[in-house]
Symmetry: C2
Subunit: 158 residues, 2 copies
DNA sequence: AAAAATATGTCAATAAAGCTGACATATTTT
DNA sequence: AAAATATGTCAGCTTTATTGACATATTTTT
């Protein structure tokens, strides 16, 4: 494939032209923002031997105490088999506990223990600080604008 | 574990108190926004038999034609062994091609083929539309604010 | 009361995408 | 000539997800 460098240059020009119709700038900003946003808790999780999946479970159970397994599956949009392993590890390690549903005894209501709460806070803290710093540098009223933007990015079905 | 519901309520109150110091609201908005943002291209990728890793490679090579393997590793922050499998598949399928570096012949400069370009655009298009919709509903000046926020979320090292 | 549906749990096999370590080859730099 | 660099590759491992099948307890429907 010799003598193709002119064609490469043509590709480049075409790209530049099409770039106008696609918002590559914010697509990339989002990618890097999220990559680094999740790297904060990853460092903490490594010490406990947990991963991102555990983080998500502890977070949502801490935020909505008493949610059922079905609620959690719906929030995370994963299968129950995927959840099972992670949830079992968190229960065995004493971060989450289950209680039989008071009305429907088939249900398992989920709660964080005090250790689970502490873990959830420790994971959220550096993320929260990162957000506060970013907002502070985004001008006045940034919080409301960012909230509306992020809410608009998510599927309406939620 | 009967008679524990009072303790649960106590947990709840503690949670509410601590919530003030941690920005759970934006943490969750970011999670849902990114989850749904990545679900758009996932649907397209499934048809090609590719995954998110292929998406990222095609995207960055399309955006920066002629980047080297080392550049790509640095951008993606993965190991060369991880990249190798994905990159090989993309080259074998005709979406990406390599050219020996004109000055340093050890380097492999990466380019998208026309098919690769088309794939990158097809994947970016629904994400771009989602961003445009979200920005439109975020008020005037939202674009600049969101850009500053996202840039501030990423590590300075970049 | 019996049958069907539901909520959860579990076993087994598989896949995607990352990782580490080790080593090979070609090329450039020292 | 030796060392460093850019890339490629082999082998094995881990995490986190998947699907399918089936078991148990409980509630709802018939």
């Amino acid at each position: 494939m010799a003598g193709q460098s002119k064609e490469n240059t043509r590709y480049l020009s075409d790209t530049a032209a099409d770039d106008d119709t696609i918002d590559f700038e914010i697509i990339e900003l989002l990618f890097f923002a999220y990559r680094d946003f999740t790297s904060d808790p990853d460092a903490i999780l490594e010490k406990s031997g947990f991963g991102r999946a555990h983080h998500r479970v502890v977070h949502f159970v801490d935020r909505e105490p008493g949610m059922t397994v079905a609620d959690l599956l719906d929030t995370l949009k994963i299968t129950k088999q995927s959840l099972a392993r992670v949830l079992k590890q968190l229960i065995d390690s004493g971060y989450i506990r289950q209680e039989t549903g008071p009305e429907d005894r088939r249900q398992r209501m989920l709660y964080t223990t005090e250790e689970g709460q502490a873990l959830a806070r420790a994971l959220a803290e550096p993320q929260s600080r990162r957000i506060a710093d970013a907002l502070a540098r985004s001008g006045p009223g940034a919080r409301e604008t960012v909230k509306r933007f992020l809410a608009g990015m998510k599927n309406a079905a939620d």
